[in-house]
Symmetry: C2
């Protein structure tokens, strides 16, 4: 989970006008209206939740990809295989959001028929935050799990080179309140966090990345350059280097994401994504209908009681009550829905360039100037 800092917050934008801007920008470079709308919704959900790295900060790459044809603007994600509760979707190298949204809705529908369902997506692109999809499925009465592979940046346990993606894993389940939603990269930190720390003059910690010499490095520029060049440096899985904090176990969770999104889906695994043939990312969706397991009222009551009991647990630090996954993001979304979304200067500059590139009306901000 990566959260925004506000130290260099420069501008505040209302979510409605930001959504309209994103839709207009995507449509202007050829995306279908419906595809643009779902993509905007997923990007905005990240900005609202405080996961700024996965919000409109990504828009420029989508716009450029659609213009250049590296993302297929004419893609129509389609089901290419069905067997009971299991389906495979070919995303035709289009935007990841519409493809994964289709997959999640299909998984919910099939889970209502079969009790449980899985949908694998191949030939796809970046999906935004995985938690948007699992929460959508959770609200439909399920426990849902979504994972995706990505650019190779993470070293498996025992290795000193990047092979896995930061492969986020998200699960969410219906409760009597907001869905309980976990959403996290399988590395300790993503590359974006290193870049942010560097901007702020703060250090990275040992155990987050490993160099080709097998030693963990804390030299941010060196690590980031190595990650970009895909040589020399790798992020480390949850638990870090070796077995001291369970890095071999964290690595096993990344491996599961790689298996599900690569060989099982019929997509490339992370080490071979983004080859000459395009992105070929894979995503994997699992949906379990709570009603298949028992009385759904009893189940959500039990989940809610368990969650409340954990939150009421004795905290490590008396000033910080125990939080569950998603608590911080839900609070942030409430606050930003009411008060607007703060955007960092480089993002604002990107949005300006997008407006120019796409020939659309630039975004206006409530505070500061664009």
């Amino acid at each position: 989970m990566y959260h925004s800092d506000r130290t260099d917050r420069a501008f505040v934008v209302g979510s409605k006008s930001l959504t309209e801007f994103v839709v207009e920008a995507l449509v202007s470079v050829g995306a279908a209206e419906a595809d643009a709308e779902v993509t905007a919704e997923v990007l905005l959900a990240a900005d609202l939740a405080g996961v700024d790295s996965h919000g409109v900060a990504r828009l420029r790459r989508y716009v450029e990809g659609l213009r250049a044809g590296t993302i297929n603007k004419g893609a129509r994600p389609r089901v290419v295989r069905e067997a009971g509760g299991v389906s495979v979707v070919d995303a035709e190298n289009g935007l990841g959001q519409p493809a994964l949204c289709l997959a999640v809705d299909l998984a919910v529908e099939r889970a209502k028929e079969h009790g449980i369902a899985a949908v694998a997506v191949r030939r796809s692109n970046h999906i935004g935050i995985a938690g948007w999809y699992t929460e959508r499925a959770a609200r439909a009465g399920t426990l849902a799990l979504v994972t995706t592979n990505a650019t190779p940046q993470v070293a498996p346990s025992g290795a000193a080179e990047p092979m896995f993606g930061t492969d986020p894993v998200s699960y969410a389940v219906l409760t009597d309140g907001e869905p309980l939603c976990y959403d996290a990269a399988t590395s300790i930190v993503p590359r974006g966090k290193l870049e942010r720390l560097h901007r702020e003059g703060r250090p990275m910690l040992p155990g987050w990345a490993v160099g080709p010499d097998g030693v963990t490095s804390t030299d941010i520029p060196l690590v980031v350059a190595g990650l970009r060049a895909r040589e020399g440096y790798a992020l480390l899985p949850v638990g870090g280097l070796g077995e001291e904090h369970g890095g071999h176990k964290g690595s096993g969770i990344g491996l599961l994401a790689e298996l599900l999104c690569g060989p099982l889906t019929g997509a490339s695994w992370s080490r071979h994504t983004y080859g000459p043939q395009g992105a070929d990312l894979g995503h994997f969706v699992l949906c379990l209908d709570l009603a298949a397991l028992g009385d759904i009222g009893r189940i959500t009551r039990d989940i809610t009681a368990m969650a409340d009991e954990i939150r009421a647990g004795s905290p490590i630090d008396e000033r910080t009550p125990v939080r569950l996954p998603g608590d911080r993001r839900h609070r942030c979304a409430e606050e930003r829905s009411a008060n607007g979304i703060p955007l960092l200067r480089p993002v604002v500059e990107d949005l300006g360039k997008i407006a120019e590139l796409a020939g659309i009306r630039p975004l206006t901000a409530r505070e500061g100037q664009l």
Copy 2:
């Protein structure tokens, strides 16, 4: 993953005679022959794989539980609910192994019909190593996942008290060779490892356990006593204390196990297991039929190629090639199948007491004496 040390190896026993001893001991206290056989097979699989903490070292507790009636020797695990690919099994407070084995075989059968299946088990007991079950399902052409809850010993992220079990998570998938099998507790280390280190005069590391003051402790006797008394001390999830090594993410994996095995299954979650009503552990099985996703030959070839490519990766330490989950256990099992199983002195003493208690012929060893 917890592995045996051989420093205090005292005796070596053949797996066949050890299996016969376990079956005889369980039957002598009232277990059905078939239940005793599957329980013996799972215990022996742990001893063969080097996971000595989950092998015949557990037998005394089973024998005493069956004698005392805290484990129901007359239990007949039965399916109490079915909806498509989802089933719920009531284990009737019997031995965990026969109940979970039935659940796994049912999950494989239903996955062949629906492409994917889940089986939840409630009112159960200790299951041995989770990897035995996932490997069984993997060999039948699936990717399988098994998890269980347990005695509360692990603090969720941000909490300073035990709430979660060490809840192992195992997954396995068919390859062109042995199944690729991950099997690990969701804490960095289990309590048994602390006890072993203490016996060997070796230290525990900071970040493995937390005290009621919210500070990580390295005082093994204090931590172990606190864990036994269920107060004051807690193990930490993969990633350790706080967010530095991703402990908040490791905690989210434990939470998923708790959700699946507690509220979704209709069993108690770990904090409330082993109440006055008996164990009431929950297990959860997921099975995905590889053939539902595509050509099974293509899928296992891709998995095998990916696994081989990871193993051939540039290692952290040149003397230690990159290993995948299960590699060490498979090698150990080969070696022990050929040369016998080493048993530690306290285990040998326990087996002697079991023979007395059950009035059966004591075990003989190839080396050393019992």
